[in-house]
């Protein structure tokens, strides 16, 4: 090829190329996916049913506790404050208020967890396994043949996934607030945004890392996603404050620590502290302070993105050597 036709390879060109690639790959997720309005039913309203079960259980227990406080007996003329009778009317009111606040905090925790579930499922099934689907429909070879950086491809998928899932998550959040009457108190909106984005970047960085596995193992990596779905719901505390596990002797702390390696766990913990107040649940159920968790999340985001970069490069080479990069029906 003559020198006159040599293409550019300078930094400015590469940045422009990769930004366009991110824009191009995020487009189908942002625009295409919202062309089917049925998503509102399937991805915003149906998840409400999933969280409703937990909400009703917490509200039932809250109702039981409130009944114990307000029921007057000869031995407890101002009701029961825990295991002991309330000392006076003021103590009874304070106990009733605490039960109300804790019930709201638990229900709010579930609603927040429900929104984070949307991101986790998107990471598992639309981010990690996406390269498998791309291979099946014949897109992968076209992606891998293009000059864009592979991280731009994954970045486009991640940006598209974040935007698309954010719309769904916000819908679930708004519906949860309206239906279950949850009250949030946001004291530091900027910190909240910082935690939210650090969580998303770390979470999608993890998804990008998993995505590279699908390049080589195809459908065999499917089991990994399946394995990580339900157990993570529990170990990451999607439906309860994860710090609660720390109070359970024996296996509780082990599960909480293991779950903390998923960015959603610490992110959710920090988001709950920022929207419910760090004194919610008596301040007993949090894992770390918000700033510590933000620091860990930023570290995770950087680590996962770097690992994703190297995993992808290594596994792409391996897949090209073994001839698995473009072979379908693996």
């Amino acid at each position: 090829m003559s020198e006159a036709k040599a293409r550019r390879s300078d930094l400015r060109y590469r940045i422009g190329l990769n930004l366009r690639a991110v824009k191009g790959r995020s487009y189908p997720r942002i625009v295409g996916a919202n062309r089917e309005p049925s998503w509102i039913f399937f991805e915003a309203l149906l998840p409400l049913l999933g969280i409703a079960a937990y909400v009703f259980i917490y509200q039932f227990f809250g109702g039981q506790a409130l009944a114990a406080i307000t029921t007057k007996t000869a031995a407890a003329p101002w009701g029961m404050c825990g295991h002991d009778p309330c000392a006076n009317a003021a103590a009874q009111s304070a106990a009733a208020a605490a039960v109300g606040a804790n019930t709201n905090a638990l229900v709010a925790s579930v609603v927040l967890g429900g929104t984070m579930v949307a991101f986790w499922l998107n990471v598992l099934w639309s981010m990690a396994s996406q390269l498998y689907w791309e291979k099946e429909i014949g897109n992968l070879q076209l992606y891998m043949m293009a000059p864009m950086n592979r991280m731009a491809l994954l970045g486009g998928m991640a940006v598209g996934g974040m935007v698309m899932t954010s719309m769904r998550a916000v819908s679930t959040l708004v519906a949860g607030v309206l239906v279950f009457g949850v009250v949030f108190q946001v004291a530091s909106p900027l910190l909240l945004l910082a935690v939210f984005f650090a969580t998303l970047i770390a979470l999608y960085g993890l998804g990008m890392m998993f995505a590279s596995l699908y390049l080589l193992w195809g459908r065999e990596a499917w089991n990994l996603s399946a394995l990580m779905e339900e157990p993570i719901f529990f170990s990451s505390g999607f439906y309860f404050p994860l710090g609660g596990l720390l109070k359970i002797p024996g296996w509780g702390p082990a599960i909480a620590i293991a779950g903390s390696f998923i960015p959603a766990s610490l992110g959710l913990d920090a988001l709950r502290q920022l929207t419910l107040g760090s004194t919610a649940f008596g301040g007993n159920f949090w894992i770390f302070s918000v700033t510590t968790e933000l620091g860990i999340l930023v570290g995770m985001a950087v680590l996962f993105l770097i690992l994703a970069r190297y995993c992808l490069a290594y596994l792409e080479t391996l897949a090209k050597r073994e001839g698995k990069l473009t072979s379908r029906h693996q």
Binding site: S2, R7, L17, G24, Y27, P28, G32, G138, M145, T326
Partner: protein, 335 residues
């Protein structure tokens, strides 16, 4: 001389697989040995050439294209595209190539044809205004303008393949790999694609196409040079005219006869260089092509057929085609 593509003793071997199969009550391990998809392939494709790779399914055509498109690593040997090694330096190669395969199902069904093509152009860094204007122009040329806003899942096979072709051209590549681009298309759609490809290569300087096909007429009509490939080996490489001239001293006869099963006798006949046969089960006929050293064995061939109680429906002496070249070299047809 600058080469758009150059391969030196390129070999690709796919590792064998162990398949576990259940037969009746027992489980059996079946080992499938290594498959040599490309065997010491050395080729030079000049800049500005429309080069064809002709061979039956499984000959190694797609494997070669995948290596050249930086999607597969060679087991040994070297492949250079636009002067760069596919293994060591893929980035500058990827900037100047594109690939379109027949029967491709790429893209996203929820996006329109126009959006899909635009999306792929972004992976090559083509600015949106440039890409959109190229898309519009190409959509007019390929007769897809009316379908520009149709979702891809609503397009017919032919329309979809035209969209794929536009995807291949929209990045303005210097080297375009076309892997069976007209596979399964109707006559008109195939003609549109062939004509555009020929004009694209010949109408501007520095554009190169590597076309793989198993349609003889397509290769004959389009290509400046053709390599005949079978079982991973290049058997011949020349212009279509020269390839046909190679067997011009030989005589080609085509016969349509009642379905014939016993073909062993033909290969033992004196003067029969090679032959192939194709059955039409519906019509209960066999179509035989003989490459003969001269016309001498014709009488003996006819008597062999009639001695089996079969009727000869037609006998035709014909000019050699690329298929005859292939039969002459390999001893069988493409199907």
């Amino acid at each position: 001389m600058s080469y758009a593509v150059e391969t030196r003793e390129l070999t690709r071997i796919f590792a064998g697989k162990k398949k576990r199969r259940r037969r009746a009550a027992e489980e059996v391990d079946e080992s499938v040995g290594p498959v040599t998809a490309l065997d010491q392939v050395s080729l030079k494709i000049e800049e500005g050439e429309l080069f064809g790779m002709l061979g039956p399914n499984g000959a190694g055509k797609t494997t070669l294209i995948k290596i050249l498109a930086t999607l597969l690593l060679p087991t040994s040997g070297q492949a250079l595209v636009a002067g760069h090694d596919v293994t060591k330096d893929p980035f500058p190669i990827r900037q100047v190539i594109n690939m379109v395969s027949g029967g491709e199902t790429s893209g996203y069904g929820l996006l329109t044809a126009r959006e899909n093509i635009w999306m792929f152009s972004q992976f090559y860094g083509v600015p949106s205004n440039v890409s959109n204007s190229r898309i519009d122009e190409l959509m007019h040329i390929f007769g897809l303008w009316d379908k520009r806003n149709a979702k891809v899942r609503m397009l017919s096979t032919g329309q979809r393949q035209k969209m794929n072709m536009i995807r291949g051209f929209v990045t303005d590549p210097d080297i375009l790999f076309l892997d069976e681009p007209t596979l399964g298309l109707d006559v008109n759609a195939a003609r549109t694609i062939r004509e555009y490809v020929m004009n694209w290569v010949r109408g501007q300087k520095g554009k190169t196409v590597l076309l793989t096909t198993h349609y003889m007429a397509e290769a004959d009509q389009m290509c400046d040079r053709i390599a005949i490939i079978d079982k991973g080996k290049i058997l011949a490489c020349d212009t279509p005219e020269n390839l046909k001239r190679m067997i011009r001293t030989e005589t080609t006869f085509r016969l349509e006869v009642d379905a014939i099963r016993d073909l062993t006798t033909f290969s033992t006949l004196q003067g029969v260089k090679n032959f192939s046969h194709k059955d039409d089960i519906a019509k209960n006929r066999s179509f035989l092509t003989f490459i003969l050293e001269d016309e001498g064995p014709v009488a003996e061939i006819l008597s062999t057929i009639t001695s089996q109680g079969k009727k000869v429906h037609s006998l035709q002496k014909s000019e050699p085609t690329l298929e005859d070249v292939f039969i002459s070299m390999v001893g069988r047809g493409f199907e």
